[in-house]
Amino acid sequence: MRGVEVELRKRLPGFELDVGWAVGDGVAVLFGHSGVGKSLTLSLIAGLTRPDAGHVRIAGETLFDAQARVDVPTHRRGLGYVSQSLALFPHMSLRQNVAYGLRRLSAEERQSRVGEVAEALHVAELLDRRPHEVSGGQRQRVAIARALAPRPRALLLDEPFSALDLPLRREMRGVVREAHERFGIPVLLVTHDPYEAFEMADTMVVYGADGVVQYGRPDDLYDDPGTPAIRRLLHSADHPIAAPTPAIRIRRSPPLQREGVRA
């Protein structure tokens, strides 16, 4: 099986996540209001947080399986990850940042790989600078280049554009789309912005405020939302100033129901 398939349970103080979904090799958008567990899902997939139960499979490879006692450590999961803060290393040049994940390659291969991703993300001429010496949009591109350089199994993007202004966000969506097409790996993008969600998604995984998670093709979800909360969320794009981001508590008394519409 290709793509990304997860089944995840995690209990934190005052919050419980219980989700399961499967997406293909395209761009999958994890969409919902803040505080419903989208970022936590990425963190569980990346192995930064340990799930209480469930499994994570990417491109047929099991990275975590509670029952089978498989738990591949983060540094061997081979996932590209870009967070909102980008986490570029401030004490290294951008070139060193991009090359950081290429330790196992020879110096020659490393150089050509850095060149390849830097050229794809249009940052080749910036590489001798430090992170604080370039603009926000340029830092984003470098962070994505750094994540792609080791040829990851999948690219995980945790609201990486939310600090950017609108034109730059639009540009970065194009960058992600291009990178996806060029490197051919599944992309998981977390966002609470409905425009971004509909523009980017091949598959959408909607995290409803009622705790229900529904996934499938964006059009299908829009036409046939599973719950009122999901309908409100998906249709918030119709009203430009809607899409509030209140702190939402999930109450999850009935067992989770899932509406699975496969892409």
Partner: protein, 222 residues
Amino acid sequence: MQSMSFPFRLSMQVAIVSTLLVAVVGTALAYVLARRRFPGRELLDTFVTLPLVFPPVVTGYYLVGLVGRRGVLGRALHAAFGIEVSVMFTWYAAVLAAFTISLPLMVKTARAAIESVDTEMIDASALLGRTEAETALRVVLPLAGKGIMAGVMLAFARALGEFGATVMLAGNIPGRTNTMPLEIYNAVLYGDWRRATVMVLFFTVVSVALLLAAGRLGRVLA
């Protein structure tokens, strides 16, 4: 006025060797305390910190109990190999005293610096395929570098001025273990106030300079 060159050279030698050891051991301890979760972590922290609150004489007393001829270590060596060794009354003893007394300043300062490193940087390193050891060397320690340097400077200043534990462990032997702080005491004892004042001024200048430098480098233990 007697020459001050021997006590000066001895003090420097003791403080430099002690600080090199403190830098290595203290950084490793600080890293473990800051980044690892294990039972007894706070107990280890308390144990390392004790010399900061103990009167140095008390720390010295315990060290004598450890490495003295009749100490725990001395008796164990005697039982195991039939040899009688002791570092007591040598400059090594002065190093051990300075090391033990200055270690907590290093550990406290370096731990705070390591804890202040953004965990997203550490996660990013792991996500890019680096092991914890590689992440420690290439990300955590460089980013905590200023705080670690501040700790080294404080530890050096403290080691240079160590008196109480040193006099217990190394004694006050002219030409062998009389470091500058001991020599100040000797000078005052013999009524040589000029000699004492010169050395006191030296300490004042060095301590103020090191504190200022450490303060500029980063957050420093109050």
